[in-house]
């Protein structure tokens, strides 16, 4: 776990994720809005199989550093933000469990929505994280893979 400050919370680990934990942490007396995004393992796949689970692989150190860059960039673009938390699981994530959770608080809701969407869009493009699709009797890396982008290129 890497808590880079009292207002940023970046974490990559194999522990199950709870959106309530992030919401409870992100709430601030001066912030009336908390927007969260949960990315859950879903059944349809890039390889045409009925997915049972996803397996995520990364370097925790490299992934946490990149996610911290995403958070820092979001703060530059939306200076009003209160708290920003981004947690990503590694290892096996069963169908319907969250693999990634983003939570953003701010005084008003418009910037919380915009920043939360920026965070998840940028995490998906810029954080080194490989996803294996697991089905009955087999598994494979997700298709449609793209080169990792730098955060400033998003």
């Amino acid at each position: 776990m890497s808590v880079s400050s009292i207002v940023d919370w970046v974490n990559v680990s194999s522990s199950p994720l709870s959106s309530d934990d992030l919401v409870a942490w992100a709430v601030r007396p001066e912030c009336g809005a908390v927007v969260t995004f949960c990315g859950t393992a879903r059944s349809s796949s890039t390889t045409g199989h009925e997915i049972q689970a996803l397996e995520y692989e990364t370097s925790v150190e490299l992934a946490e550093a990149r996610i911290a860059e995403v958070v820092a960039t979001a703060r530059e673009r939306w200076p009003e933000l209160g708290a920003v938390a981004i947690h990503h699981r590694v290892g096996v994530v069963s169908l319907t469990e969250p693999a990634v959770v983003v939570a953003v608080s701010s005084p008003h809701r418009q910037e919380a929505f915009e920043a939360a969407q920026f965070c998840i869009d940028t995490v998906k493009r810029c954080v080194p994280m490989w996803k294996r699709e697991i089905w009955e009797g087999g598994s494979a890396w997700s298709e449609e893979a793209q080169p990792i982008l730098s955060v400033e290129d998003v």
Partner: protein, 78 residues
């Protein structure tokens, strides 16, 4: 000796996640990797980024002892 970190499809193609390997530039380290891990790894490497100590690196960049050279194939963020 550089510390090698192979992730996702690069780890799979090489059969190892961590290794130590000779070479004082990125290009030389990768050349030694291809020699050690073979064609399947070379194919993954061709589409991958290489980071040294967490920063994007080019072939000409120097590699010092204990530097971490990471091979990062394309990602499928979805």
């Amino acid at each position: 000796m550089a510390r090698l970190l192979l992730l996702g499809p690069a780890r799979e193609a090489a059969g190892v996640r961590n290794d130590v390997i000779d070479g004082d530039t990125v290009a030389l380290v990768l050349q030694h990797c291809v020699t050690r891990y073979g064609d399947a790894f070379a194919a993954v490497l061709a589409a991958s980024q290489v980071w040294v100590n967490g920063e994007v690196a080019d072939g000409d960049d120097p590699v010092a002892a204990n530097d971490e050279v990471a091979v990062l194939p394309p990602i499928s963020g979805g």
